[in-house]
Symmetry: C2
Subunit: 455 residues, 2 copies
């Protein structure tokens, strides 16, 4: 992806850093979007102490936003380095969900001190949010919202909103509630502006508007946003009282994360790994999978070992083993990737779809197997193999591509149905299937042909 529109003046910043003029660095950064400031502070080659100093030189509202845009180690560094008083000032202007995220990352003692320094009402709201697990609707929502009476008129409601709206940053809709505070529905601001002054709110309320309860999983929330093209959604407690709202910008991150997580699982990666992690952390996160891979690889090796005698008789078979295994692995990667996309987009929520898809993958595997099998047989002949070995290679590759299609699509599906960790559908296990299947077919058939005197 190109990055022409992200204008971070790295050269100028680097020069100023080298000259030691951190005040000038801060003034230059101030002009940028907080997201870009966070990226710049991470990208500059300066000491942690200098980062901290520059961060302190930024105006309060800018440093607060910048802190929220930071990730991982840099964010930890800053949170750990500034005092509780400074932190208290930083979180002053933040939205409750952002403060809850920040506080949630601190140890209990620090968190208590920061909350104690805040306005009582706000710290209560944050304590409330902290009760919900991070990956639920409750954990994603913010407490700031505008609830209006469903029975009021538009003109009274506008007065009401002017009152309440000062404390809520950015809202695109308000929520209509009944006398008991139960959610009636959502009122988008455009409808409110277009309505006549004496219209009753109930009449312009979208009563069927999607809502979620606090305990719904964030993945499910993201799916609803995507499916119904929502901008924001009310979150209700078990008594149907509005307790928060989730906005699309929080959900975009969830949508992205969910997709990346799916592919991380396929690639046998821990979903927590980030490109900027230290080598030690990446090593630790990847090592368990590779150690398991050693075991699955030796399972493939043991299939080869069974046929060691056959290879001894015809060493050329060893030359073609990587062709059988390689094609199987890549065809399986194709099938699994298409399946993961389909599952992520909810395209397989009916048995009929699933049945169709499995039949298709077997058929695609068969036809591609026949195709690459013929080509491979031809090339093997140029490599000096006999026609009969070419035929063997053709048979083994056809079989292995059917195995690849079926394993690549069926394993993730089966695991989903069984509710088992989808990580088990990772490439480590699927390539084990195609290696074992491929070697067994190729070397097994070779053994039979040899015994029958055909080779």
């Amino acid at each position: 992806m190109a990055s022409e529109h992200i204008n971070i003046p790295y050269d100028e910043l680097t020069e100023l850093c080298e000259s030691g003029d951190l005040n000038a660095v801060a003034r230059l950064l101030e002009e940028l979007h907080p997201t870009d400031i966070a990226t710049a502070l991470d990208g500059l080659k300066i000491d942690d102490s200098e980062i901290l100093e520059i961060f302190r030189l930024l105006p309060n509202e800018v440093s607060a936003e910048t802190l929220l845009e930071m990730e991982g180690e840099l964010r930890e560094l800053l949170v750990d380095s500034v005092s509780h008083v400074e932190l208290g000032e930083l979180v002053e202007g933040m939205e409750t969900d952002d403060v809850a995220d920040l506080v949630g990352e601190m140890d209990a003692d620090d968190a208590r001190k920061v909350l104690a320094g805040m306005d009582f009402e706000e710290s209560e709201a944050i304590r409330e949010l902290l009760k919900y697990p991070d990956d639920t609707a409750g954990g994603k929502m913010q407490a700031e919202l505008i609830a209006v009476s469903a029975d009021a008129t538009v003109s009274n409601t506008l007065i009401d909103i002017r009152e309440k709206g000062k404390e809520v940053d950015h809202f695109t809709s308000v929520f209509a509630v009944d006398v008991e505070g139960r959610l009636v529905g959502t009122v988008p601001l455009d409808r409110l502006i277009l309505a006549d002054a004496d219209t009753v709110i109930k009449d312009i309320t979208d009563i069927e508007a999607t809502r979620v309860t606090v305990d719904v999983d964030q993945e499910e929330v993201a799916k609803m946003f995507r499916r119904y093209d929502l901008l924001s959604m009310p979150v209700v407690d078990l008594d149907d009282r509005v307790v928060g709202r989730i906005t699309i910008d929080d959900v975009v991150d969830v949508i992205e994360d969910e997709i990346f997580e799916d592919f991380f699982r396929v690639a046998s990666l821990n979903v927590e790994e980030r490109s900027m992690d230290s080598a030690l952390r990446s090593f630790k996160l990847r090592a368990p999978w590779l150690l398991i891979n050693v075991l699955t690889a030796f399972a493939s090796a043991s299939v080869v070992k069974i046929f060691q005698g056959t290879i001894e008789t015809m060493v050329i078979l060893a030359v073609f083993m990587p062709v059988v295994a390689g094609l199987g692995g890549n065809a399986a990667t194709q099938a699994i990737t298409v399946m993961v996309r389909g599952l992520a987009l909810g395209e397989m929520n009916h048995l009929e779809h699933t049945r169709r898809l499995l039949a298709k993958e077997a058929l695609v595997g068969l036809s591609n197997g026949l195709l690459v099998g013929v080509l491979a047989a031809f090339i093997s002949y140029l490599f000096g193999a006999s026609l009969m070995i070419g035929f063997l290679l053709f048979l083994a590759m056809t079989a292995n591509l059917v195995i690849a299609g079926v394993c690549g699509s069926f394993i993730p599906l089966l695991l989903k149905w069984l509710g088992v960790d989808p990580a088990l559908s990772s490439s480590v296990f699927v390539t084990a299937c195609t290696d074992i299947g491929g070697f067994f077919t190729f070397l097994g058939l070779a053994t039979v042909f040899l015994k029958a005197g055909l080779l």
Copy 2:
């Protein structure tokens, strides 16, 4: 992903279809969200003619929305089957960008007829949109928007909006323009509601609000939305006049598609493939990659062929070849996946980040290589190999995991820098690197050791 919240009453629908009561099917579907209706029509086991009949029985606004939510063959079927008059009625209530998408899919003759049946002003707006390539800001934007004078007061502007707003579905902000129609900035509706009646619009306008010109790539647009947490963005022509707006719900699809495309390229898939494509289409889209894979696989095979004599002397080497190749392939998949995520999120837009990452991947490869190498050497000993062969395996695996880390991370980066199609970073090429590298190290060292009398 779970789907408890998607309530399609398949059992009831299937029963009604079987009893032939299509009117009842339509009445039942009508109650659902258009997205769910589209999914249901695709999932039900009924003939195309029955789908068409049910579709016609739906109220006009419902069938229009449903058509927009459909994908691929089903959408084509319906567009091809209904008459131009019916299509004209369907598109009446749609937003211009949706109509432009629909019309853009038809052949020129049909498109002309549908546009001819529309209101002149609207068909002109659509013709205008059709000029822009599908994957640019111009292609993604809709023409419906509300432009207000930057010099007007809030109270006059509210009257103005009530006038213009009737024709625009869903808006969360309006655009302030100067006397020449040039964009001044964005005015979110909440600011408009909270402002005093006699405030001048200019004073509540977000002048620094992000804008794009019609020709900017959709990927770049998506990146800006994500980076700056936008809900909608004005699109301007080269004279800075507002010609359209892009809303976040259109961008969420782009964001998703871009991520899926990245991983499709890694998996050697055509980005056009969908899980519900026919077997013939999938076969055709995947075959070219697998045919290329036959060639890369024989490149690996030819490395093995060079050392055929060595394998002849020690057949046990053939047994361990899959271990060297398998670990290399999976370690490369890990590296490439982390890199693709980092590139997609724009985490590598500074040379310093890149340098750090490559050094890291080499180091992670080395340390994991040492680890799995030791385990593999140990297991090979249990397989009856000599200590010296175990040592060889250890060396080859360490080298191959370094190759995997460097190839997996460097190849996609290099291709990005060179501006070459990132498809070349696909698993087909990266596994070729690790296969060739692995076999060359393992069998090459074995040959040297044999000649030196060490084996």
